[in-house]
Amino acid sequence: MADAGIGLWGVPLAVLGGAVRVSTPFLFVSLGECLTERSGRINLGLEGTLVMGAMCAYGVSYLTGSPWLGVLAAGLSGVLMGGLHGTICGLPRVNDIAVGIALMLFGTGLAFYLGKPLIEPNARMLPAIDLGAWSDVPQVRAALKINALFVIGVVLAPLLLWALKSTRWGLILRTAGESADAARAMGYSVNAIRLRATMAGGFLAGVGGSFLSLYYPGSWNEGLSSGQGVTAVALVIFARWNPMLCFGASLLFGGAAALGPALQSIGVTQGYQLFNASPYILTLLIMIVTCSPKRTLVGAPAELSITK
């Protein structure tokens, strides 16, 4: 009865619920990328890290029965990928964007290779927090099912903002991003700072990947990620390298990404494929509106090659 009564209202509700659900990987990848870019380097390879994280999380959760160990493994795989990126970019005359493209392909390939045996079995999923238990309407209940990783992400965003702004290591990281010479003059190794920032960013991106395989869509297959990692990199630009704005932007993108499935769920059979592209179209439009050829972006780390 309730199901029939809600009708078209199901779409905005599903988009809202979807915004929370689908935004989590965007949130983690963009926070990780934000950290890396603040240190003056761009890691385009987070798409590969995301897929690796999803595969590792699924495998470890399946083998140990603990999804949280899976999340940890996903983070650690991200640290390794980030370490690889940071080390290679530390060599003289190596371009960070090109290395990112290479690691995007390498990470996806490696994850597909290692993940072959994981397509069949079922792993333990991450728990959800039921905030909608008061409601009788199943759609409301579904929309208010908040996953634990989202909550962690919500806490992490302001924490990261504070850490970048007010702590010693945050200041050092930003110095490396604004002026490598200044950081060097203070006696810090710019490469070492950026390596650590890329590894930390990789950890977060890997955790974002674990969400894909252990919560939503909640399985491991080769079509699991389709560009969320890339979108998140663009999202950081839109969020002006501010972790709190990354959070808001992730919600927006999550809502856009939930539009296609929401339309499908109310019986739209034609054209939903186009709505599946809405996060990418939205990203492009936002970049068109917010970028400018005449000035560098407000808030952009001065050492970043992508905005130069």
Binding site: L84, I88, N95, I97, A277, I281, M287, I306
Partner: protein, 351 residues
């Protein structure tokens, strides 16, 4: 003396990528050994599957054809200092529009149909990448990210049209468009199973080489790629250069899509998205964005792709092992960038 100097410089550009390639092959051997496969068997089957027999050579060359064209999609903008990685998107849109063109003029003589397909594919692919170029030129949007986003948008457009308005109702298992018709397929080069797409690729690579290194236009593009400010000071219209180069780059990838439809698939469906666009990026980087060097590198990578089937059957390696090797080659090639100018043997003699 000048001759010796040139040889030294050129040798460096051959030896260092070759070393990088060997390094990646060694790493892949170790990787396979970790999974209990004999590296010697691995290299043997890779060679067999890629270049061991006339049959595998033909398979390799068939795969090299689209790789040459998609590699040009990265190599041409690279002359201007742009990193375009959206060849896959231009390939998909090119293949889709070529199919649409063929279905519109279906009754016409085959040659006319093929010409219409090529024009439609190149135009669509060209405009697709020119969009990235225009966004970079007029809005300052990073072309690497925008071209990659356009890949996902192209995929959505392809899925939408193939599953919706353009779907052939009789294609039950895999949604596809109607077939372009056997008469309209571009056939094989006489005496081989390799389709004419390879010749398209070779001609495109040669034209791109002439354009970049032997015309004023190419010279201007390389100046703008080296130093935009200097290019503006000498009065070059950088925006026009960017747009034309991106248009040509996308046209090459769009032609790859047309070739895949007209020579292999016979119709447009999700089979077009097998990653030729992404492998093309690697080909271009490995060839140091030189249009002539792209040809042998594309054949090499086509061979690696072709050997995937044999590795799967004989060694039980998953099909993704080719992707792993490609990733290793890419990483290794970029790392080798740091070696240039470090070997005394290649050092240019100073007066």
């Amino acid at each position: 003396m000048a001759f010796g100097k040139n040889i030294g410089g050129a040798a460096e550009y051959v030896v260092i990528p070759a070393l990088a390639l060997l390094g990646a092959l060694a790493a892949f051997g170790i990787f396979a050994a970790l999974f209990g496969k004999d590296p010697i068997d691995l290299y043997f089957f890779m060679y067999q599957g890629a270049f061991g027999t006339w049959f595998s050579w033909q398979n390799t060359l068939t795969r090299a054809a689209p790789l040459i064209l998609t590699a040009l999609c990265t190599a041409l903008p690279a002359q201007l200092g742009m990193v375009i990685i959206g060849g896959e998107g231009a390939l998909l849109i090119g293949g889709l529009c070529a199919t649409a063109a063929a279905l519109v003029v279906q009754g016409a003589p085959p040659l006319l149909v093929d010409v219409a397909m090529a024009i439609a594919g190149m135009l669509a692919g060209g405009l697709w990448i020119a969009l990235s170029g225009a966004l970079r030129q007029f809005r300052g949007v990073n072309e690497t990210i925008s071209s990659l986003l356009l890949v996902y948008i192209a995929l959505a457009v392809l899925n939408f049209l193939v599953e919706g308005p353009m779907r052939d109702p009789s294609s039950l298992n895999k949604p596809s468009t109607r077939e372009i018709g056997a008469a309209n397929m571009i056939g094989a080069i006489p005496g081989t199973d390799v389709h004419w797409g390879l010749v398209f690729g070779l001609v495109a690579a040669a034209l791109a080489y002439v354009l970049i290194f032997h015309t004023t236009f190419g010279f201007a593009a390389r100046i703008a790629g080296g130093n935009v400010r200097a290019a503006r000071i000498v009065g070059l219209n950088v925006g026009r250069l960017v747009l034309i180069v991106c248009l040509l780059a996308g046209a090459a990838a769009g032609l790859a899509g047309m070739v895949e439809v007209a020579a292999v698939q016979g119709r447009a469906n999700a089979n077009l998205a097998v990653g030729y666009g992404f492998t093309g990026i690697l080909v271009s980087f490995l060839a140091r964005h030189n249009p002539l060097a792209i040809v042998p590198v594309a054949i090499l990578l086509g061979g690696i792709n072709a050997s995937g089937g044999l590795l799967q059957r004989r060694l039980g390696l998953p099909d993704a092992s080719v992707l792993v090797l490609q990733g290793m080659i890419f990483v290794s090639v970029l790392m080798s960038e740091t070696l240039y100018g470090r070997f005394r043997i290649f050092a240019r003699k100073e007066a």
